[in-house]
Amino acid sequence: MIQFLASIGYEQWIIHVLLLLPLLAIPLILIFPVRAARWIALSVALIELVLGLGLWWAFDPANPGMQFVTDAAWLPQFGIGYRVGIDGISVLMVLLSVVMMPLVVWGSWRAIDQKQRGFYALLLALKTGMLGVFVSTDLFLFYTFWELLLIPMYFLIGIWGSSNRLYAATKFVVYTFVGSLLMLVAIVWMVWTVGRATGTYSFAYQNLLEHAEVMAPWGGWLFVAFALAFAVKVPLFPFHTWLPDAHTEAPTAGSIDLAVILLKMGTYGFLRFAIPFFPAFALSRTTGLVVASLAVIGIVYAALVAMVQPDLKRLVAYSSVSHLGFVMLGIWGSTVESVQGAILVMVSHGLSTGALFFIIGMLYERRHTRKIADFGGLARVAPLMATAFTITAFSSIGLPGLNGFIGEFLVLIGSFGRYPWLVAAAATVVVFSAAYLLWATQRVFFNRFTNPLNEGIGDLNVREIAVMTPLILAMLWIGLYPAPLLRRTEAAARRYIELIEPHLPAASLPGITTSGMKP
């Protein structure tokens, strides 16, 4: 496989094709008749899947740096370039987005019955934006993709959402936009500062990273500017209240893209930019304690709030806040174990939350409600759906043997030496996560069949089975044999830790050296 990919020059063109193909297909969608729109979108998604899967083999796990690198001039006067690449931190996110895309299109096959052209065109634009964020190694390019994403997402929620869609869409945009404006200021400031000191005005990631010490005097302000933009996206408690609204009002495809990819842009931003640029401030004892505490508050708090939500989508939205708290904790745990765990939680959360939203979407298509109280006893009329939901719920709960456990276990065990008490507090969520998901599962699928309107609900059809099966198989695979994924993130995680190690405060538990062994 590797030889074959090399023979077709795979690594030279793959990123560009992945970025461009969805954009090129948009005019096609607008030209062809309406009923072709979803077919075009699906074809593009499938082509991207086939092409993108090559990354699995073409990516060299031993190489800790950027691969598939392209560095082309775009606006050289401003030091802006078309600079892209993939490393161990981003490879799984790129793979996840190419895998999820066909499922998203196929999953909303029947859900969208009006303005289909616009819907699928935006979905494709969203796809380019999401991939672009993860492959950009130029901060201007990164910012462009970052902002570009807002537009399709805004329309997806605002046009195809449910009743309160405009409120949610506006809230989403305002929230994230305020954060990103500060980031833009910070980026420009950085380029300017580094340029004045070195003579090279460049938005290139590598250039800024190498001269990070120049920015150190302003590290605190710059970090906060970045951190706000990213913390809103994560979302880190207390910047999370846009998410339940956005998730709830968005159509299924929007919710899934939000959960699977958009939320990960925040945590990715911390790992890629905010911390490596300003490690001294970001990892100082105080900042670390603040961020890790917010993460853990979010983990427990969101789980408790999820427990009392009457709406399934809001419940899953809060569960996202809880899961993403694990990613933040793992990032600030700052060990190879915890960082790899954080990356794995990003992937796992995408799979299980995506699957939960798919099933909630299927319920909504059938009954036009997401209220838990409207259901009950569905396992009798829809046993397959109940099974799929239960498996997914347990994956989200973190049952060992399924995907959710691996990442959270690694995050907790890896962060334990630095934040023993916070890890203990975070670990209590094993009870609460089971509480909110099992309670919801019970009230929807088990218990007495009370609502006669649910009689004709119908079980999963072939298309829906085909969407759920790969997701469930992936949950099992990652749960039982995560080693191939871990191998692909390991080198990059190790290099990341080496990079930040000089700035790390000592672990707070006694009796251990940095090499890891008790003396």
């Binding site: 006067q77 401003f78 462009t144 902002e147 807002l150 537009i151 805004y154 329309f155 605002g158 506006t170 945009v173 305002v174 929230y175 936009f177 207390p238 209240t241 846009w242 708090y301 408790l304 709030v305 427990m307 174990e337 790899q340 006893g377 396992a379 046993p383 397959l384 099974t387 347990f394 049952l399 060992p400 043997g401 691996i406 276990f409 907790l412 065990i413 890896g414 334990f416 030496g417 023993p420 890890v423 670990a427 094993v430 009870v431 089971a434 509480a435 099992l438 019970q442 088990f446 218990n447 007495r448 069949f449 039982l480 995560p482 080693a483 871990l486 191998r487 251990i512 890891g516 008790k518």
Partner: protein, 656 residues
């Protein structure tokens, strides 16, 4: 065969997949389901026996069977999916697959008319696979797969008849109570990894004595956290509340999962990590106290229950308490011995109760009676219709009551003797011993009461019902018969030397327990006369309990539910299980939900963050003028688009 021990896991797993597929297809091929369901268990049993025979010949060291790298992160954290084949894991696997096979066979008859037949066997097979992973795992995380996996299957099987709200509630309650314990296991893993740098049992046993001080704070904390997990899984105080509710599942499930195997996993885990516990005498003492208290209090509740399965459920909680009392005295192999004999007689009791319920259910249904098929006040005189079940349950009753030579006598006596011996060093153990004796008296009492109310006297459910009562088919009585033999003679597995035995289980487990034993204080066994006194006393307690139970139950004869006056005072408190469930609901669950809803969701999230924080910021922005007016009109998209497009155009123009 040892390197292929994973086959024992694979067969039930495949069985679960096939039966799960058949269930999903809505298949009615019951014969196929039965063959796959029972066949996969028998195959697993065959593998286990082969491994056992090989291990008997082989060396005493454990054999590590590597499957694949599970979480290879660093040199330090490199968790393999590996099994550990040794005397302990194989003994457990024999119990699981052996009794599991019998119960699967029994289920063929018991569940025959259930519409969820295939689903039932899929869950039950899956349970066995997870249970084997639990005992075979070479490290805590691998065992944890099984540990939580059996919890999953328990959840699914308790809520098997999910259309009754109470069943679904019970399943959820079981899982949540277990998860409270699992928090402890997780934290113990983190601490162990931090201080020992390993999670493999073999290496833990090797490194712990060198790196942990005897009685040190860290090892005490770790063992207490592990034990917290055990109180969840093995239904001890304070987390025992889920097990009685778990009886909502089909009765063979209660026999396999909630009596013979899963609930004993806590005892297994303590023995598995025995070196750690031997280093933490304070934890051992706590375990003994909790075990003795649980044995005592659960037995008191068992005295007044009228539901036949509820009696057995509290009896199980109580007997698990004995096992913990055993390991708490440091007598690890005695705890395991009682685990094995208890698996025999308690599985028999539950399956016998299953036969009774099966018969009652059929007869009540036939007679269109709305009476409760599990309420013993509706039974009586069943010995006539069900002589086999009666005889076998009588044997099991003698076994659990501690009457020699039946199985339970030997194992229970060992535990009580050990507690007594320990009592010479610390009064705490002496109190535990007394609690154990009192529990033994009550055990004999409530078991005699159960047999009397069910099988003796006259039938109280009405003559039209009585005529419909039948002995269970052979596929159900067959397994009962085998368990009856085991309950009668199972004590021979570990006969003490004073009756000419060889203490087989002690010797068999010696490679496992020796490292821990080396750390424990050596205590003098009781003198011949003291020992004889203890034994005679124990037998006397059993006999007295049985006689009391029979006499007080039969005269006057019990009243049927509609005639029985409401209980008062202590009796009512016992019937209502000390109202512990209500207490937990009032003090923990209720307030937690209230705080989540009113304080966190409504107060913090909606009001504080969203309305005041975000809304306030928005209002400030609105005051700032033009940006605000656009926000209000929902024109943000326009603005953002303009911004992005504008920025690119301006830059392009500038660049030219």
């Amino acid at each position: 065969m040892i390197p292929f021990v994973w086959l024992a896991v694979l067969f039930p797993l495949l069985g679960a997949l096939v039966n799960g597929y058949l269930a999903a297809r809505g298949s009615h091929a019951k014969r196929l389901v039965s063959v796959v369901g029972v066949g996969s268990l028998v195959a697993a049993l065959a593998v286990t026996v082969a491994v056992f025979l090989e291990l008997r010949q082989g060396p005493e060291e454990s054999v590590r069977v590597m499957l694949w790298h599970w979480m290879p992160i660093t040199q330090r954290l490199n968790i393999d999916l590996a099994f550990q084949v040794d005397h302990l894991s194989v003994l457990m696997a024999l119990v699981i697959t052996g009794i599991g096979s019998l119960i699967h066979l029994f289920s063929v008859g018991y569940m025959h008319d259930d519409p969820g037949y295939a689903r039932y066997f899929a869950y039950l097979n899956l349970f066995v696979a997870f249970m084997l992973v639990l005992v075979l795992g070479a490290s805590l995380p691998v065992s944890f797969i099984g540990w939580e996996g059996v919890g999953l299957c328990s959840y699914l099987l308790i809520g098997f008849w999910f259309e009754v709200d109470a069943n679904s509630d019970a399943g959820k309650k079981a899982f949540l109570a277990n998860r409270v314990g699992d928090f402890g296991v997780l934290m113990a893993m983190f601490l162990l990894w931090w201080y020992l740098g390993t999670l493999e049992y073999a290496q833990i046993a090797q490194r712990a004595p060198a790196l942990f001080a005897l009685g040190g704070g860290t090892v005490t904390l770790i063992t207490m956290l592990i034990f917290l997990g055990c109180t969840g899984k093995s239904a001890q105080i304070p987390l025992f509340v889920w097990l009685p509710d778990a009886m909502a599942g089909p009765t063979p499930v209660s026999a396999l999962i909630h009596a013979a195997t899963m609930v004993t996993a806590g005892v297994f885990l303590v023995v598995r990590t025995g070196v750690l516990f031997a280093l933490a005498p304070a934890t051992l003492q706590l375990i003994a106290v909790i075990g003795a208290l649980t044995a005592f209090f659960a037995a008191t509740i068992g005295l007044k229950q009228n539901d036949i399965k509820k009696v057995l459920a509290y009896s199980t909680v109580s007997q698990l308490g004995y096992m913990f009392l055993g390991v708490g005295t440091g007598a690890f192999s005695s705890g395991i011995f009682h685990l094995v004999t208890h698996a025999f007689f308690k599985a028999l009791l539950f399956l016998g109760a299953g036969s009774v319920i099966h018969a009652m259910h059929g007869a009540l249904h036939h007679a269109h009676s709305a009476r409760d098929a599990q309420d013993m006040r509706n039974m009586g005189g069943l010995r006539r219709a069900m002589p086999w079940t009666f005889a076998l349950m009588a044997i099991a009753t003698l076994a659990i009551a501690g009457i020699p030579p039946f199985a339970g006598f030997w194992s229970k006596d060992e535990i009580l003797t050990m507690a007594f011996v320990r009592g010479q060093t610390s009064t705490v153990y002496l109190v535990c011993w007394l609690l154990g004796l009192a529990a033994a008296l009550m055990t004999a009492y409530y078991m005699a009461r159960l047999v009397a109310m069910t099988f003796l006297g006259e039938f109280r459910g009405g003559s039209d019902v009585e005529s419909g009562l039948h002995e269970a088919p052979w596929i159900m009585t067959g397994p009962l018969l085998v368990l009856g033999v085991l309950s009668a003679f199972g004590g021979w597995l570990n006969l003490p030397e004073f009756v000419g035995g060889h203490e087989t289980i002690h010797r068999w487990l010696e490679p496992i327990t020796a490292p821990a034993d080396a750390l424990l204080p050596v205590l003098a066994p009781p003198h011949g006369s003291t020992e004889m006194l203890l034994i005679v006393g124990a037998i006397a307690i059993g006999v007295i309990g049985l006689l009391l139970g029979l006499r007080m139950t039969l005269t006057p004869a019990p009243l049927t539910p509609e005639l029985a006056p409401p209980e008062r005072g202590l009796a009512r408190l016992l019937l209502e299980k000390y109202r512990i469930d209500e207490l937990y609901q009032r003090v923990i669950i209720g307030p937690l939900v209230w705080i989540s809803r009113r304080v966190l969701a409504d107060g913090v999230d909606q009001l504080l963050i969203d309305r005041i924080g975000v809304g306030g910021t928005a209002r400030v922005a609105q005051g700032l003028g033009w940006l605000g007016s656009r926000l209000q009109n929902g024109q943000v998209a326009l603005y953002v688009t303009m911004f992005a497009v504008g920025a690119v155009i301006i830059l392009q123009v500038l660049a030219r």
